[in-house]
């Protein structure tokens, strides 16, 4: 499981928002609130932040621009992990859960990891991981049939199709339990910064328990094969713009040898060409969608040019994204885009298996013009929710369990929650926990999706240098962070406009692969505007005047 990649995914989606009614003329939607909460109300709702400073990182987090903070780096696990929870958190209750999982679903019976964590919890969490790729289409039937589990994780990007401003009423309002200083009853939850809770607030109430919070979340960036660049004497620090990348294309592509310079490059170009992830402001302060910017047209042209020149791997053009990592590991492509989580010890393990010299590195932030900027994700993009049917003492038991699950890195509980039992599912090797063969089959990101402590950068599979490289890159990156429009705000868009973007996205795919001219894109955007794009702008104008921009 690739945690940071998920974080990056989380960010992409947290900005997309779900249905409800504000715009005049959409009376067909129920009069649920827009989901949004004003800044003054937020301050009353958000839990207090009481950081746990028991463990000192090897490299401290760096404070960047606009509230961004890079993750602290730990190079080894503390020798004598502290206990952060006294007594048994659970009271013998049994709760069903549902979490997405991107990877193989582990066996549910005889799973030593599940059993070990449940034993420590003093309660039974019945884990039901579901395929993360289809999670969004699996959720509506569960809501429609009212078959929600006791505790469910819903990524921000899946709330779009759930009319979530209305849906949250099915969950427990956690405000009476956690707002302000009340959270101090749960010290490990209090160790999660206020910003991480923010996107878990709907309609002026706190509903979500943050999963994988972090202060430097971005959707993704561009990577290159450091070993190959060194061999070819290319200095990556000289690559600063899309034009510099384009110029590398010829040198790095040798199609007869099965090597191409680029994999698909589209996903993170908004950062390079500086168009918003979704909505932004133009020079005159007018709210514009990314579709309406000049920058996205430049990005489309640039991407189509790489394809036309033959610098992009044919499998990437054929949409075989599931093999993208293998292409990069085996050196069939030398430059690719990916989430920040792609850069970790597990990746190095897979890459060096293909080629012992393998070394992944990210370019410093690229920019088409001027100083680079990068739009930040909210402090957390995925949240665990408790079923509204739970009784008060059950909610308290779940929060007490959550307090255990959210134990910080360096604690004894963290090891249990993430690795299970020493000697069974993991062993300490060179100061860091490494899964055993059994652990590799049975341990999966399951409990962690219900609620998670702030996630530092750690050494994976013994690759210390990777953790250092990543930490250094992130410390540089946060200097360029900016908050996007409506940052960390939960806005419920009128549902009748939910499908208008589909045609534009389809056209973007055609244009960036050179199957259609850019004029097809501008035509699709015109249709999008008339079908509801302009109405959405009015909707967001209204949000801005009532609730501000979140920036």
């Amino acid at each position: 499981m690739d945690r940071r990649q998920l974080l990056s995914l989380a960010g992409l989606g947290a900005l997309s928002v779900a249905g409800g009614g504000l715009v005049a003329g959409c009376t067909s939607t129920p009069a649920a609130g827009p989901g949004t909460t004003s800044t003054s109300d937020l301050s009353k709702i958000l839990p207090s932040y009481v950081p746990n400073t028991a463990v000192k990182p090897d490299i401290a987090g760096v404070i960047g621009a606009n509230g961004a903070v890079s993750d602290p780096v730990f190079l080894s696990y503390p020798g004598s992990p502290v206990k952060t929870v006294s007594g048994v958190p659970g009271k013998g209750g049994s709760y069903t859960t549902m979490t997405p999982l991107w990877g193989a679903i582990p066996p549910s019976s005889g799973n030593a990891y599940y059993e070990a964590v449940n034993k420590e919890l003093g309660a039974t969490l019945k884990l039901q991981p579901a395929d993360g790729n289809n999670y969004g289409t699996a959720l509506p039937p569960i809501f429609a049939a009212d078959k929600l589990p006791d505790w469910i994780m819903i990524p921000g990007w899946n709330t779009t199709n759930l009319n979530f401003g209305q849906a949250v009423s099915k969950f427990t309002d956690l405000t009476p339990y956690l707002a302000g200083d009340k959270i101090k009853a749960y010290p490990n939850l209090a160790n999660i910064p206020g910003g991480a809770w923010q996107a878990g607030v709907w309609n002026g109430k706190l509903y979500g328990l943050p999963a994988y919070p972090g202060g430097a979340g971005i959707p993704g960036t561009y990577y290159f094969r450091r070993d190959m660049f060194d061999k070819l004497n290319i200095n990556p620090d000289n690559i600063k713009s899309p034009n510099d990348l384009d110029a590398l294309g010829k040198e790095l592509t040798s199609s007869s040898a099965g090597q191409w310079a680029f994999d698909s490059m589209w996903d993170y170009l908004f950062q390079v060409f500086k168009f918003p992830m979704k909505w932004g402001l133009d020079a005159g302060g007018k709210i514009v969608h990314k579709y309406e910017t000049e920058a996205i047209v430049e990005a489309l042209n640039w991407h189509a040019k790489l394809v036309a020149k033959g610098y992009m791997h044919p499998d990437a053009i054929a949409g075989q994204s599931q093999n993208a990592k293998q292409r990069f590991w085996s050196g069939k492509v030398l430059i690719c885009g990916d989430g920040p989580g792609a850069w970790n010890g597990d990746d190095a393990k897979s890459g060096t298996a293909a080629n012992p010299a393998y070394r992944r590195q990210a370019f410093k932030l690229l920019s088409a013009s001027g100083t680079p900027t990068v739009e930040l994700n909210p402090g957390a993009g995925m949240f665990g929710y408790l079923n509204g049917k739970l009784k008060e003492d059950q909610v308290k038991e779940c929060l007490s369990i959550a307090n255990y699950l959210a134990a910080p890195y360096g604690s004894a509980e963290w090891l249990t929650v993430n690795f299970g039992t020493a000697g069974v599912t993991y062993n300490m090797e060179n100061g860091n926990p490494v899964l055993t063969e059994r652990g590799g089959k049975e341990v999966a990101t399951t409990f962690q999706f219900l609620v998670t402590a702030p996630t530092p950068t750690t050494v994976g599979s013994g690759f210390t240098q990777v953790a250092k490289d990543f930490g250094a890159w992130q410390a540089d990156m946060v200097k360029y962070a900016v908050k996007p429009l409506f940052f960390a705000m939960n806005i419920t868009e009128p549902s009748q406009y939910s499908s208008i973007g589909q045609a534009v996205e389809d056209t973007i795919t055609d244009v960036r692969f050179g199957r259609k001219p850019v004029s097809a894109f501008t035509d699709a955007v015109k249709t999008w505007r008339s079908q509801g794009g302009d109405a959405l702008r009015t909707f967001y104008d209204d949000i801005r005047s009532k609730y501000g921009t979140g920036q």
Partner: protein
């Protein structure tokens, strides 16, 4: 004779056959008839929180929107074109394969070939398309070889123009082997004495094929053709979904993907249900027409008249 038997007597006579249809019947009820209740959403503005009972009734509004949606018409057009191509290029293949297999005398070789052509049926579409991409894609052995010789590469996997032939080719590779089972059964039912008699009368290989084998298979061929026509609006959902990025929406959007993207993905269940119902009604009309034509030609079709 049959008409004279009482209903009770018929039931007693056929009870074991009727019992055998029960599992299939249960499957139909659970997965086809019960979900049909969902059709009501096509006439509503369905909302998952209000449910069937409380969602507002909107009459034919969803269908009005559907009829004026160019994307829907384009999907229908693609579906029909693909269906026609598959009918012409895919349907005859299992028949030819069955005839070919039937002419192999060595049972060892026959079962070997049979096993080889059955196998791809059990692969998922993701796997089949990946194999095609790995073999015929721009980085596969075919194009690498062309490139090594300095020849132009052949764009098979990402060409929207030829996509209909590509998906038909993939369908043939995956399913044609499996499709021969029914035809082999029909071949086995042909009386071998007919062949001997014809051979004694001096009929050659082709004559025997024309006058004995094909007439013997005609009933089955017509039945499958009728079923195929009824299914002609279903041309492969996964195949289109997986290759959507490779060739773009214009080439790959069919009715089923339309329902998925505009109905399920964007939480427009009523709109998707309307598109699905439209497809279902159209399919029913097609199957009735095909059956009528079969009867005109003196065949049984789906049921005996």
């Amino acid at each position: 004779m049959q008409g004279k038997l009482s209903w009770r007597a018929k039931l007693r006579r056929d009870r074991s056959l009727l019992l055998m249809t029960l599992p299939a019947l249960a499957l139909l009820i659970v997965f086809s008839y019960v979900p049909m209740f969902g059709i009501v959403t096509a006439f509503q503005s369905y909302d998952i929180y209000s449910g069937f009972s409380a969602s507002p009734f909107v009459g034919l509004a969803q269908f009005e929107r559907l009829m004026t949606d160019p994307v829907f018409w384009h999907a229908l057009e693609n579906t029909l074109v693909l269906s026609a191509v598959q009918l012409a290029l895919y349907f005859p293949v299992p028949i030819a394969l069955a005839l070919l297999l039937n002419s192999i005398l060595s049972s060892k070789i026959r079962s070997f070939v049979q096993a080889v052509v059955y196998l791809p049926h059990f692969f998922s579409w993701v796997l089949v398309i990946t194999i095609f991409q790995q073999m015929l894609g721009g980085a596969g052995p075919l194009n690498t070889a062309l490139r090594e010789h300095g020849w132009a590469t052949w764009d098979i996997m990402t060409n929207p123009e030829t996509f209909k032939y590509l998906v038909t080719g993939q369908a043939v590779w995956k399913e044609a082997g499996w499709g021969i089972i029914v035809f082999l059964a029909a071949l086995a039912a042909i009386d071998q004495n007919l062949y001997e008699a014809a051979a004694a009368d001096g009929a050659g290989k082709w004559r025997r094929l024309w006058h004995i084998t094909l007439p013997g298979m005609r009933g089955v061929i017509v039945l499958l053709l009728v079923l195929r026509l009824g299914n002609s609006l279903t041309v492969g959902f996964e195949q289109m979904l997986i290759q959507r990025q490779a060739v773009g929406r214009d080439a790959s959007e069919v009715l089923d993907t339309f329902t998925y993207f505009y109905g399920v993905v964007n939480n427009n269940f009523s709109y998707g249900a309307a598109a699905g119902l439209f497809k279902g009604v159209l399919s029913l009309i097609l199957i009735l027409i095909a059956n009528k034509v079969a009867h005109l030609f003196g065949e049984d079709g789906l049921y005996r008249k």
